[in-house]
């Protein structure tokens, strides 16, 4: 997993609530047996017009946002299916952090296992960030995971929560499986107990 320490990025606005994983990556892209090429299908139905050409109104298609790493979304981002293809598609495109007021449980778990940081903010912060991204699309935000702090373009700071375990894994880029494998003895003891 790619480690996450600090990023500075423009903010891509996606002002929809309840963005479901079928929108993030539609089922027709799920026939792959690896993780490659999923960025191609990211937000496919919103990114492309019915004839398949790019939708110029969709932010991911705008020059302004090429290379941006932070997505700002409406409430309840990532609801629906458990497909980890959703974070794979997002990170494949280059997204490293998503800011919203809430995330669906499975999506948040999946994101954290793929170096993608879900940041929960208050409705006020979310609203001011949406305003800002409209007024000054080129403005950037700093995200510092170590200190759990964002610096908004106006210089103000906002702190965010993350559980300590996910934080360490992200900072160091470690796969959580290693932690489970280290508990082999306890797992074996449990199996012995309940047999």
């Amino acid at each position: 997993m790619k480690s996450f320490t600090k990023i500075t990025s423009k903010i891509i606005p996606l002002p929809h609530t309840d963005v479901d994983t079928d929108q993030i990556i539609p089922a027709r892209y799920l026939k792959v047996i690896n993780k490659d090429g999923l960025a191609e299908g990211l937000f496919d139905s919103w990114r492309r017009l019915p004839d398949g050409s790019p939708n110029p109104d969709f932010p991911l298609n705008q020059d302004e946002y090429q290379g941006a790493e932070v997505l700002l979304a409406g409430d309840n981002f990532g609801c629906g299916s458990s497909r980890e293809h959703a974070p794979w598609a997002l990170t494949g495109w280059g997204i490293r952090a998503i800011i919203s007021t809430s995330f669906a449980d499975i999506f948040r778990n999946n994101a954290l296992k793929n170096g993608l940081l879900p940041i929960v903010v208050s409705e006020e912060t979310q609203a001011s960030l949406f305003d800002l991204s409209e007024e000054a699309p080129a403005a950037t935000i700093d995200i510092d995971l170590e200190n759990q702090r964002m610096t908004l373009p106006d210089g103000s700071g906002v702190s965010f929560e993350i559980d300590p375990f996910s934080k360490t894994c992200l900072l160091e880029g470690i796969d959580q499986l290693g932690y489970l494998l280290k508990h082999d003895e306890q797992i074996a003891a449990f199996e012995g107990r309940v047999k």
Binding site: Q23, S82, Q176, L177, Q186, F190
Partner: protein
């Protein structure tokens, strides 16, 4: 006296392998189900790391999402689906996992075959790389969906890192009226609490209306817990549960059965157990439900009008407007009577015998409307055969519908069964997200009764007029 505990707390505590202050708990997993779409990358990762499956006998595999339903011959699937199906066959062979493949009688939708084969049992922890794993909670198990990284974790360690959820009692009181089903109950709940209403929680469904449901209905209720934002839905096991399981292939037998039942009887939440949150719904005034929008909370009763714009917050209005725009429906207008192009009866929500019988009771001796496409897809091959034994296939065909082999089919439209852009479907599945049933397709979620009735009239129909 010990503190009264909820069903969830009992299951959580009995599966704890280790707890720690600076990491999530480690939870033991009794049963792991896999399918072809969310497992390949997990096996690749195991191979790269040189790891084996720790308890391969605790993982059961099926093929359901990308399989064709026109034929049992998978070579008729598209090229990428064939690669995916061959991959799970190879992975199961290499790692020693039981697979219900093309030729197998037991094959079907992963959440249908677990219970049907008796793998799903009360008191178990059950996971699958699929959000509708919540279905299995109908048996009093703790069952939830996981991502592919976690599929890898379970294969390698039979355990998962988990944070404890909060509990949410969902009480359904009263007696279900004529023509109203478990599907209408769950759609009513989600319309009430919203699709994020259960986030961070596990539902426990209680109340007389839940007790009165058979296992098929209870599975429908738990299936859509995830659509209310909850990771899991659970129902305390009782005599209905035990009667369903008794004699199933992988259920305990003989003395083992009696011992198991004695254990299961201790699972229900204790008198006085406290939930973190609660809601009560009186089902006696419930009517058949339909959705008008692009997520499952956008639901109304068949006789209500689509909500009007302007009554809500700005964000809620804009999402309603966006949804109605996609659906090409108008605010403040009835949905009943709206023309429908396709009816889909199937999916892990409503593809079991009770669902097929309900649909057949309406289709029998009638014809689908001119130009209507009706697709009936049983949840498993065993269900297909049982239904054929009862003549349901004939009823469907005589009505002008298509009778298919088991699979997910048009629930997620990965296998070629899909809507055309702009088409309206009344569907017994669980998600009406934009494009879920095919790019540009428009989904109206409903019960098997409502779906079958709409197939006959060609319009969104109150099934009580036809039952």
């Amino acid at each position: 006296m010990t503190q009264p505990k909820t069903l969830y707390e009992k299951l959580w505590e009995s599966h704890l392998v280790a707890e720690s202050d600076d990491a999530p708990s480690i939870l033991y997993i009794d049963l792991h189900l896999i399918h072809e779409v969310t497992s390949p990358q997990a096996f690749s990762a195991l191979r790269e790391k040189g790891l084996k499956a720790r308890r391969p006998e605790r993982t059961i595999a099926t093929m359901d999402h990308s399989t064709p339903t026109i034929s049992l011959d998978y070579e008729s699937a598209d090229e990428m689906a064939v690669i995916q199906l061959n991959q799970i066959t190879q992975n199961c062979a290499d790692f020693g996992i039981t697979l219900y493949d093309a030729g197998s009688d037991g094959r079907g939708i992963v959440h249908v075959i677990g219970p049907e084969q008796g793998y799903t049992q009360p008191g178990m922890t059950i996971v699958c790389g699929d959000s509708h794993t919540s279905t299995h909670g109908a048996f009093g198990s703790l069952a939830f969906g996981i991502g592919t990284s976690e599929v890898e974790h379970v294969l390698a360690t039979q355990s998962l890192l988990q944070a404890k959820s909060e509990t949410y009692e969902v009480k359904f009181e009263g007696e279900l009226p004529f023509g109203v089903t478990a599907k209408d109950m769950i759609l009513a709940l989600i319309a009430k609490i919203g699709i994020g209403g259960g986030t961070g929680h596990v539902f426990e469904y209680t109340g007389e209306a839940v007790k009165a449901l058979n296992m098929d209905g209870r599975m429908t209720l738990c299936n859509m817990a995830i659509e209310g934002g909850a990771r899991a839905g659970m129902i305390a096991p009782d005599d209905v549960t035990f009667a369903y399981l008794k004699g199933r292939t992988h259920a305990p037998k003989g003395a083992g059965w009696d011992a198991a039942v004695a254990k299961w009887q201790k699972l229900p939440s204790d008198e006085g157990a406290v939930y973190d949150k609660a809601v009560t719904i009186d089902v006696s005034t419930l009517e058949p439900m339909v959705t008008y929008g692009t997520n499952p909370e956008m639901g109304i009763t068949i006789n209500q009008r689509i909500p009007s714009l302007g009554n809500k917050s700005e964000a809620a209005n804009s999402s309603l407007e966006k949804a109605l725009n996609y659906m090409d429906l108008s605010a403040d207008s009835p949905l009943k009577g709206h023309p429908v192009d396709v009816v889909f009866i199937g999916s892990c929500t409503n593809s079991r015998m009770s669902d097929l019988r309900a649909a057949a009771s309406i289709l029998k001796g009638r014809k689908v409307a001119e130009g209507m496409r009706l697709l009936v897809v049983p949840g498993s091959e065993s269900i297909r055969k049982e239904a054929e034994g009862e003549g349901i296939d004939k009823i469907v065909r005589d009505a002008g519908g298509e009778w298919r082999f088991a699979g997910c089919s048009m629930c997620l439209a990965m296998n070629g069964d899909e809507l055309e852009p702009g088409q309206y479907a009344v569907s017994t599945s669980n998600r009406n997200f934009e494009g879920r049933q095919g790019k540009g397709g428009r989904t109206i979620l409903a019960s098997p009764y409502t779906a079958a009735a709409s197939a006959i009239t060609g319009k969104v129909t109150d099934p009580r007029e036809l039952i």
